[in-house]
Symmetry: D2
Subunit: 336 residues, 4 copies
């Protein structure tokens, strides 16, 4: 954003007015050619409108780059998924196994979690795996198992589409089609999923910027998707102390500045089940519209990602903790 | 960590027992020389003891690297700072200006925040600035202004030491000596501050790993510091959508796995005041022992970091929001 | 890799023997259960065989993780692309426009570069663009323009496949099928391209590890690709001083340790044409098997990435500089 | 940089003129207030002057941010270190042990390398180590050993200052004072070293941006340093395939755009001796003014960083390879 000054403006006063709005300002110097001074504002803030800045005394004009994701900007904070509103006052929980391993297994999970108020049953029929020799998912049959388990228990289905060729089958059965991290910029897939008309859960790429993520959402909406829900699942970092680096600043930015619905996946974000509760609570506090959590009847035998799955026997307790209010600190600071 | 198997062990059973403890396992193959199989466990978990793993049926031995930060590991979750316990049930708030700009300014802030239950008055007398031509802080006089304002209002002082030469002056007046991000691996400074005996607030370096951070804490304790409180303030990332990337996974790891006190600085973490409340609440939910927040009577005139400072007139409301319990989600998931 | 010691081994002697081979060693401590000591070797080195390490006095066994990309490991340093060997003593140059904009334009380029010894004509018919509203390439017609230009001038064609649906058309006309960075882990596309049987140029993902990159190559070879040539084009970094961060350490590792052919794309790596020559020369010095360079008859009018394209009028000079031997330093160091 | 347009300018023509100079352009839209259009140019290029851009037809003015490192910008490409010019046509080699372990050891190395045309003897008397319990260097005695070995063999001394307190002793004996990566933003140390007046070798911080690095150089020059030589030694990355990530794009940028002398340290950059030759040659090709290389009479017994040290017995061969011209590719591309 560029704020231009009138010839008789008091630059210090304009600077003051801009910083008072929480904007970081880079002052650009007067050139030899006698132009008026300019200020470049590096940080974007939805709370500040162009009209507001143009009204500052001494400002002659405000210019901005064209927003290139108009449909995403216009979407708003909620998405309706087969009658369930994501992004409203109640957090949406999306729970299930990493992979759909058998009809009995996904059914057992569904029956356990549905009574706990979990609205979405998640599970992978097609699994993106780093090695071509790792388990790739049970494919189309698993879609059927997932759908029947969800219908029998009154839940909605969220599952990933990996290949353009699978989109019709996935879109027919899924209430919410997931795009995985590795495919966030697989534009052919985004277009194919968009054409299906389904709402989409768009996971962030391993090193995607906010801008790239929003643009991928725009591909979906421009293609015909009925809504886009973003999903933060941890980005790549230099430290292997956790599996990924959960970026809750991005969640706060999406929720509070861009006013968009964002789900957080603390299972992948930390890669270890003992941090799912604190990070899940932190995500909700940061503004997440819900959580995606992996569970398994017997994690050690899981065909993928066992160490981060919550044992099914513990899922009731975990959901209870995630929903518990964070204790209100007393008013005397750290004084003992 | 390496788990060795007995010659007659059932590897699948051992694998199962390890994953059931939430450990990620890399199986290492049998070599030509006829050795028993081994399992390498990549992830560290405080919840799993060597004794526990050694007791698994089929395991012949468990070997681990020597912990090289024994004093940090032994410290425990609380540090007493001049009678104020950091890391207990009540979050510690550390509030004040980025730079101590004048005696009147810091006194005005102190008088406003002390009644709000803020235990620590923060403020920079010595400021590390990227440019040698930027304001470098008022130095020793500012230490006195800070101390008198804190004493008059019953707060403790936390302020940064930048130079070995300044350590005696800082340590005499500060209750808690801060090491800034740029100096996290300035070992000469860590040794000098350690020798002062004061408890220390150790900010994480811009791209420090957890392991390096813990080792820097060890320098302080080995040197004589009475306690180390860690401070996450955002790390460097590839995305400039926020000023830094607040790593709340590291906070959860320190708090819940390493059982160490960690303060979070959402002012630097996001660099924009409109995200301080959601990220501050998220930090507390993740396990932070407290928050460090910048405030200023008139942010646009601040000598440093104005855009991220909370206007003093709003600090009461911000602290109230940070302390408010996060609303308890109702039990029917995202259903409308 | 784990090196186990005999009960009577001298650990210091074994350590010495390992470090003398250039290996970084983490010593793992003896456990309570009376096991022999172990050494974990973190760094991999192709120059060190398991047999060699097992022969060290005092070593009872050496165990390693199973290599999960056996086909990539077995491929070797050269790939034959329609009769042109990539990875031999002569660097392969792949030159052409970012997008194939018209038949006349690509033909003009081909006629200019073919006499310069450029073996491959590059050009995008399908373009992955961050925004859905940016130019997406001329598609199938552009494939024909590219092919005819290459055939008329005796060059081979390298062009990108973006969608599974386009693979048959691309594979029919391209001598070398390119997988772009955003699709490095688009496994459905990798499988489809593998099935075509063509050799593949696999660009590295924006934040792909060496291990992930090799595994994606394995997908291609397991699927049927006749060979994989890797392509480093810069990774994501925290600094925007250059468009991307060209990782020539990865190039040296692929070329000298893994013995695989790797092409470097300095146009994307730096994003500015004034660094293409120094970085192209550096890439060849690091072990690159060739270079991919963008050119355009009139960069300012290019439909994509103009600022990094070499003007066609300068391509002769640029190729001459890239091929010029780096001047031999004289022997008296920096003495003037 | 902001380029403003005249009211009657043809924006497409101006855009064309800017891109033809290799600049990436972000077009900023006209605002409601009737201001003329602007163009923001994101990339900096020394090859393009403000005057040149202002002369483009249709441009009414060009404004830029004030350069905040004027002394660094004014320094130029060479620094004289006790009579040895760094940055001239002949590469400067800085060779020696990681730590100065004994007078005999450093003397043996000096006698071996001096006849090979190595101008600088390097070696650490004070060592920054992640753990407080690791070997910290022999300190002041080691400075004397280093100095005598250099004087006896006609070399110059480069060694690191770690603490403000050690600066006088280091500056008295060193011809070139090194600032290590961990201290690149230790401003108290930069000021102290600057005051000594010595030329300085400034290693880049683990995640320092180009801008921060240049500003740290400005601290040195503003403080009184006689010259600053930059040193790239690898930055932090997400991949542990190499110890650090050597950023030769930054080297090319410093050498060819900023016209500053930069030394490359491939020993730390890769962390493995088998990549030192290819990366050292690549560094020279990218524009490095010289190389810093670690050697040791017996690497397995080195007190620090043995695996990356070149055995002294091989240093003659390594230097010969580093100086050898890179073979000139023949003109028929990759054709076999």
């Amino acid at each position: 954003m560029i704020v231009s000054l009138k010839a008789d403006a008091n630059p210090a006063e304009v600077l003051r007015a801009l910083v008072s709005r929480g904007l970081w300002v880079t002052q650009v110097e007067k050139s030899a050619s006698g132009e008026p001074r300019h200020y470049v504002i590096a940080s974007y803030s939805a709370a500040t409108s162009v009209e507001d800045l143009a009204s500052i005394d001494g400002v002659s004009g405000v210019t901005t780059s064209k927003v290139e994701h108009p449909r995403v900007s216009a979407q708003g904070p909620t998405v309706d998924v087969s009658g369930v509103v994501v992004g409203g006052v109640k957090p949406a929980f999306m729970v299930g196994p990493c992979s759909v391993e058998s009809e009995a297994h996904v059914r057992e999970i569904a029956e356990r979690i549905a009574p706990l108020g979990v609205a979405f049953l998640r599970g992978g029929a097609y699994k993106p795996r780093t090695s071509p020799y790792a388990f790739q998912g049970h494919g189309e049959p698993a879609l059927g198992w997932l759908k029947r388990a969800a219908e029998a228990t009154g839940m909605k289905v969220v599952t990933e589409a990996l290949s353009e060729a699978d989109v019709p089958a996935v879109a027919e059965l899924a209430d919410l089609v997931q795009i995985g991290s590795r495919n966030m910029q697989n534009y052919a897939l985004l277009k194919a999923v968009g054409r299906s008309g389904r709402p989409v859960l768009l996971k962030r790429g391993m090193s995607a910027t906010m801008d790239e993520w929003l643009h991928s959402g725009e591909y979906l909406l421009a293609g015909g998707a009925r809504g886009v829900i973003f999903c933060e699942r941890g980005i790549r970092s230099f430290d292997d102390a956790t599996r990924n680096l959960l970026d809750l600043g991005a969640v706060a930015l999406l929720a509070h500045v861009h006013k968009l619905p964002v789900i957080v996946d603390p299972s992948h974000g930390a890669g270890r089940r003992d941090l799912i509760v604190p990070l899940g609570r932190a995500a909700l506090a940061a503004g997440a519209a819900g959580l995606m959590i992996e569970t398994h009847a017997d994690p050690p035998t899981a065909l993928s990602d066992g160490p981060q799955a919550i044992p099914l026997a513990e899922i009731t307790a975990v959901l209870r903790e995630l929903r518990a209010a964070i204790p209100r600190p007393t008013s005397n600071g750290g004084a003992s």
